[in-house]
Symmetry: C2
Subunit: 312 residues, 2 copies
């Protein structure tokens, strides 16, 4: 089934304790569409870049069956640029430089061929921009998911709530869920946020875990314990892309299948962090993903016959 | 099978964002033995208290089949006292008061009836004291587990390593594992620590997760997402006690059974944090534990046919 992804395509420069990445391609749309491409075959991207965005990167994406008809190339402008430095624990980072460039006036326009879509993923953009995309889709997708961040909660909370009402699934990290709900307990936070919308996915990036909340239950997927985390940039977008890609591949939004989508998203994210930028993600094979998913299965596998165990 | 637990029995005073506990009973031995008592029937405790430790607390423990013959009551001294204040997120805390009192000269002596034991759990004490206990056991227990903390890594690392060589299982949190190994990656940390000993259990307290590393594999158990965490004090000891109690109940130290022990320990810990001190833990029923274990089973349950999924 088809999947439309809206978000940034950008340049990043990343400092980690292991070195400097130099200027590499990044952006939520880049990570999530590459990740989704390992699952879904009909992916359409809406983004904006300057004339500096490398043609090779676009070719790499097209070779993964990613439709770039919705990417607006601004001939006289520059692409979004972010430079960040991770702390030693790789769990926190400082932003050194943010140059909005073309993203400052990003006003996504869906090509005609995008307007009927089965799945829609809205990367972290202003809530108004996200809403304008939903308004351009002519059918009601099977599932609309969105990302957001603290910044929008700080400056545009009411707008954000309006957008939330139109989507099925929110993908944010635990701190964002706490800020949005005003509740520390994630169970309570999820309940409050679900009062606005139907479902709620909580995702932590990097080495962390994913919690899927739905009316019918809660599902937890741990992050794979990894030998090394080299660069956490893009892990959350890669997770979301794998998750949405798996849903689009299967066309099945029941809770049991969404759990599987979480596992596939986590598997994709676990590769993303192994090298700088999109490097590791670009070169994945389905066999590698499959093997990593098997590791997940083993990691959480146990058998308990609860009644029997307590009566023995 | 029999389980000997060595550690502190103490008074705590706890400040959380929800209020002050007043003076309540606490200590690693108290939490872990009460927790273990829901699984194992032959639990023997080695500890030291002053004349101020309440007889009702001792009676409560005896009523749970906990043998207190190894508890030294120092008639003219006071019990260990700790006063701590949790930060708003309940994940970190400051120590306001520590009065070692009787614990300052604690030199555990095993009663004759304790010297043959199937399982031995050494709470967080100085590595020399832990070693002296191992020296008093006349058989080789099926499994010896120990807790420790950063403090001993700072001031007595070589002593700690000597003790580690004598035990099968180390129960610490992730920061302690990182400090002990000098490795940030928990996978690498576990491998380094396993070079010293055989097995390695990593436990985070409170709302957090447990990772069990063994040569043959890694097992992850999430913390149950709770509505409310009221007081995280003792959660780690409760986890360890439930874990050891389940092993002692079943007498089975194979990896598959240790995984189950992790789940039961986590279930016990999830109750501990619901009220101040040992309050919630004292009043548990086996049915409540069983129900919570069922929640764990559901929380991580998913089905993936990996090969099939990738080929479809």
């Amino acid at each position: 089934m088809s999947l439309v992804i809206v978000g940034s395509m950008a340049f990043d420069e990343i400092d980690t304790p292991f070195g400097n990445s130099g200027r590499v391609i990044g952006g939520s749309c880049t990570y999530s569409s590459i990740s989704a491409s390992y699952f879904a075959k009909d992916i359409k991207v809406v983004s904006v870049v300057g004339n500096d965005f490398p043609e090779e990167a676009m070719t790499m994406m097209r070779n993964k069956n990613i439709d770039l008809a919705g990417v607006d190339i601004k001939k006289d402008e520059k692409s979004f640029f972010w430079h960040g430095r991770y702390h030693n624990d790789l769990n926190s980072r400082d932003t050194l430089v943010t140059e909005l460039n073309v993203l400052g006036t990003f006003n996504p326009v869906l090509p005609e061929s995008y307007k009927q879509t089965d799945f829609l993923f809205l990367g972290n953009l202003s809530p108004e921009v996200q809403r304008s995309v939903i308004g351009q889709v002519t059918n009601r997708p099977k599932l609309i998911a969105m990302d957001t961040m603290n910044f929008w909660m700080d400056i545009a909370l009411e707008e954000l709530k309006k957008t939330l009402k139109l989507v099925d699934l929110l993908i944010i990290n635990d701190e964002e869920a706490r800020q949005l709900s005003g509740e520390y307990s994630l169970v309570k936070a999820a309940r409050k946020i679900k009062e606005i919308e139907n479902e709620f996915l909580l995702s932590k990036t990097g080495e962390h875990d994913a919690l899927l909340f739905r009316r019918t239950g809660i599902f937890f997927a741990p992050a794979l314990p990894l030998e090394d985390v080299f660069d956490p940039t893009g892990a959350g977008d890669t997770f979301a892309g794998g998750f949405m890609g798996y849903l689009a591949k299967t066309g099945d939004t029941r809770f049991e299948n969404m759990k599987r989508a979480v596992i596939y998203g986590s598997a994709a994210a676990s590769f993303c962090v192994e090298k700088f930028g999109t490097q590791r993600l670009e070169e994945l094979s389905e066999q590698e993903i499959s093997k990593r998913v098997e590791k997940f299965v083993k990691l959480v596998d146990f058998t308990i016959e609860t009644v029997e165990a307590m009566e023995s």
